[in-house]
Amino acid sequence: MNWPHKDIVAIADLSREEIYTILDMSTSFKEISKRDIKKVPTLRGKTVVLLFYEASTRTRLSFELAAKRLSADTTALSASGSSFQKGETIMDAAFNVMAMAPDCIVIRYPYAGLPRKLARELPCSIINAGDGTHEHPTQALLDMYSMREHFGTLEGLQVAIVGDIAHSRVARSNVYGLQKVGAHVTVVAPKTLLPPGVRTWGVDVSCDFDPVIQEADVIMMLRVQRERIDEQCFPDEREYAYFYGLNKRRVDMMKPGAVIMHPGPMNRGVEITHDAADGNRSIILNQVENGVAVRMTLLYLSLGGNVNGD
C-alpha cells in the first residue's frame, strides 16, 4: 500500500487509519535505536534539510537522529547564522534550499501557515516541526504512541491537557489526534489561557484541575511562558503553580496507573515540580525516546516508503 501524503503538515489532515499506521510502524523503527549498530540503509541517498527558525533542542535532535539512523544525509539550518537575519524572506530561503534538491524539508517556524504554503509550492516533502500556534503534528503522534505503548490502547483513554491551551500547538495537534483515535480529552486552564471558540473543539473544558486529576489516565502538562504574565493571562508564577501546577499533592490524587507527560521544555516549579517530573508516574523521557521512532516512520513514509515496509 502506498502512503498518500507527500507532507506532514497537520494532524487535521490525517485519518484515524493513517494515525494507526504511523503508530504501528513506529514499533519496528523503535527497535533500530536499541541495536548496537543503530543504522539501517533505508533512506540512503536521500537528503533531509532541517530548517529551524525557532529555538529547539529536542525536536531538532530527534529529527536529525531519526534521519541519520535511516542513513539519510542531513543538514540543519537555524535562524541565527542563516541569511534570515540578513532580511531574506522565508520564501526566498525555501526556494534556495529547494534549488539544492533536498528530498525533505523539516520546518519549524514561529508563524502559523508556512508549512502548508511550502507543501503547496515545493515538490519535496515538508514535515511540520511546529508552526506558530497552529500545529505540531509529530509531537502529537509521539505522544499518542507513548500513551498506546503504556496503556495498550487509546480508545476510551481519559487525557487531561493542562496549561496554556490558547497558545499551544501541541495542545491543538493532540486534541485533533486523540479525538480521531477515540480518546477523551479534557483541557484545563484559567479562562485567560483557553482559546477563543474552545467550546467548539468537542472536548471537556475545566478551570478546576483537582476534579480532573482524579479521573484522568494521562495528565499532559504544557509549558507556560513568562510572556503570558506580561499579557495579563495570570498574575504571577506563584498563583499559577498553586492552581494549575502538578505538584506532590496532586500527584497523590492521581488514579492508580495514571501517567504524567510533558512535551518539554519544562519550567520546573511552575507547571510541574520534580515530584511529578521525576517520579515513577512520569513517562516524559519515554516520549523523547519514542519521538525518534515516530519521526523515523514519518521520514520513511514521506520519502516514498510503503506502508508495512514492503
Partner: protein, 424 residues
C-alpha cells in the same frame, strides 16, 4: 456633448428611467425625455443598453503618495479609480509624511490636478503624525482643501483627545471619519477572533475591539453634539450600536466595505494574505447583518478602503503581512453582485456610493440633476468577465477577487464632462 439612450439611475433625484443628458461646461445642462430634440453639432455618446450613473464617490481610500509610491501613487490610483467608475476619491492621511499640515494637503491636491483624471479629496489627520496626542492644524488644512479629518490607520486612544478633536473639527465644519478600534484589544491579532482563528493558530481581533470604540465614540459625539462618521464597520454589534444611536437622534453615520459585504473569515483558511485586512473579515452572521443594514438604510455608505501593498509585502507570513486590499476596480462589480444575490435595489446600493457620501462630506456631486457637476459613469450591465492581474491598474495587485467572474462593466467615466476612462 450628449449622452443618448441610456437608463439614468440617480438616487439623489429619485430617478430611474430612460433619458438623454446634455453636458456643457462640465455641468449637466438638461435631462431630456427619450426622443426629444437634441442640440445638433454635439459629440454624441451612445448609451443604449447602458446605465448612466452619477460618478462614484469612494469616501475611504489610500493613495499612498507621498511616501509609499512603491505601493501606489496618485497617478496609478487615479487610473484605477477612473477604470472603476469612481470620479471622486477621498484619500486618507496616513502617508509619509502624514497629511497633518497644509503643505502636504496642497501637494496632494496639486499633484492630482496635474494628473487631471479623477477628483482627489484629501482627508487630514486628526492629530499630528497620527499619534493621538496633539491636534493637527485642521483649519489651515481645510483652507488648503481637506474635506474631512480622520484617525484612520491609528485610532485616537484618548477619549479626552477625541472629545476635543470633535469639537475642534466642528469649529471648521469638518466631518470626522473614525476608524473604531481599541488597539489594546486587537493587539497582535491578524484575523477575526473565534473558533477559526484558534484552529488556524492565528491571533484574533475580537469584535469588541471595534464595538467598544464605536460605543465610546458615539457617546462622545452625543456629548459634544457633533456628527461623526464611523468607517468600515464590520460587525453586527457595531451596527446595533449605530442603530440605537440613530434612534436616539445622535448624528452618526457609517460605512462598510464591499469585501465585508461579500466575504467572511472562512476565506482565511488557506493563509492567503489577500484576505488580511483591518477590520478583519468576520462571521457570516456579521456579513448578513451588514447586508441587511444596507437594505434598511442603517449603513449609509460603501467605501473601498482601497489599500495597496506591494507583492513582496503581501508574500510575507499571514502574521507579518500588512493589512489591506485594493478595491477601486471591483467596487461597482461587487455592488452588482450584492444587488443580484441579495435582491437589494441597485439604486439603493448606488446611493451608498453617490448621494450619501456627498451629503456626509458636503460635496457638490453624487447626483445627475440639471446643473449638477457632470461626473458620470456609464455602466454596461450585460457582459460577464473575469478579473485578472493584467486588468488591475493599481501598482499593487493585492485583491482577493482575482479570478472572480463579475456581471457588468464600466464603459466610460467622465469627470466634469471630460472622459477619463473608456473601456476597449
Amino acid at each position: 456633448m450628449v449622452i443618448k439612450g441610456g437608463r439614468i439611475i440617480d438616487p439623489a433625484n429619485n430617478r430611474d428611467d430612460f433619458a438623454d443628458i446634455t453636458v456643457r461646461n462640465g455641468r449637466i445642462q438638461e435631462i431630456l425625455p427619450p426622443g426629444a430634440a437634441l442640440p445638433s453639432g454635439e459629440e454624441v455618446i451612445d448609451a443604449t443598453g447602458h446605465w448612466v450613473l452619477p460618478g462614484l464617490i469612494d469616501m475611504h481610500a489610500h493613495l499612498r503618495e507621498p511616501g509609499y509610491e512603491y505601493k501606489e501613487d496618485i497617478t496609478s490610483g487615479s487610473l484605477a479609480a477612473a477604470a472603476g467608475g469612481i470620479t471622486t476619491v477621498v484619500c486618507m492621511a496616513n502617508t509619509e509624511p502624514v497629511n497633518d499640515n497644509a503643505a502636504v494637503t496642497q501637494y496632494i491636491i496639486r499633484k492630482a490636478s496635474s494628473i487631471g483624471l479623477v477628483r482627489v479629496l484629501p482627508v487630514g489627520a486628526i492629530t499630528k503624525g497620527l499619534k493621538g496626542k496633539e491636534l493637527s492644524e485642521m483649519g489651515l488644512m481645510k483652507q488648503a482643501g481637506i474635506v474631512a479629518v480622520s484617525d484612520d490607520g491609528r485610532p485616537v486612544e484618548s477619549a479626552a483627545v477625541m472629545l476635543r478633536a470633535l469639537e475642534y473639527a466642528d469649529t471648521f465644519s469638518l466631518p470626522v471619519i473614525l476608524h473604531c478600534e481599541d488597539r489594546a484589544l486587537s493587539a497582535k491579532g491578524v484575523m477575526n477572533e473565534g473558533a477559526l482563528s484558534s484552529r488556524l493558530g492565528l491571533a484574533g481581533i475580537p469584535a469588541i475591539a471595534e464595538e467598544t470604540m464605536v460605543s465610546r465614540d458615539v457617546l462622545i459625539a452625543q456629548y459634544a453634539g457633533v456628527p461623526v462618521h464611523i468607517t468600515h464597520i464590520s460587525t453586527r454589534g457595531s451596527l446595533e450600536i449605530i442603530r440605537g444611536a440613530k434612534q436616539q437622534g445622535i448624528r452618526v453615520t457609517c460605512d462598510t466595505t464591499p469585501h465585508h459585504l461579500v466575504l467572511t473569515e472562512d476565506s482565511v483558511g488557506t493563509y492567503d494574505t489577500n484576505y488580511k485586512m483591518n477590520p478583519p473579515l468576520r462571521h457570516e452572521d456579521d456579513r448578513h447583518a451588514l447586508v441587511e443594514g444596507i437594505r434598511m438604510n442603517l449603513v449609509d455608505c460603501i467605501a473601498t478602503d482601497h489599500a495597496p501593498h506591494a507583492g513582496d509585502e503581501k508574500a510575507l507570513d499571514f502574521d507579518l503581512a500588512p493589512f489591506g486590499i485594493i478595491g477601486f476596480q471591483t467596487l461597482l462589480p461587487l455592488l452588482m453582485k450584492i444587488h443580484l444575490e441579495h435582491d437589494i435595489d441597485f439604486s439603493q446600493l448606488l446611493a451608498c456610493v453617490t448621494k450619501n457620501p456627498a451629503k456626509i462630506l458636503g460635496l457638490d456631486g453624487g447626483a445627475l440633476g440639471q446643473g449638477s457637476m457632470a461626473d458620470i459613469t456609464i455602466f454596461d450591465p450585460g457582459p460577464t468577465w473575469t478579473l485578472t492581474e493584467e486588468m488591475i491598474l493599481s501598482k499593487s495587485k493585492n485583491s482577493p477577487f482575482l479570478g472572480w467572474t463579475f456581471n457588468g462593466r464600466v464603459v466610460r467615466t467622465m469627470v466634469e464632462g471630460r472622459t477619463v476612462f473608456v473601456s476597449d
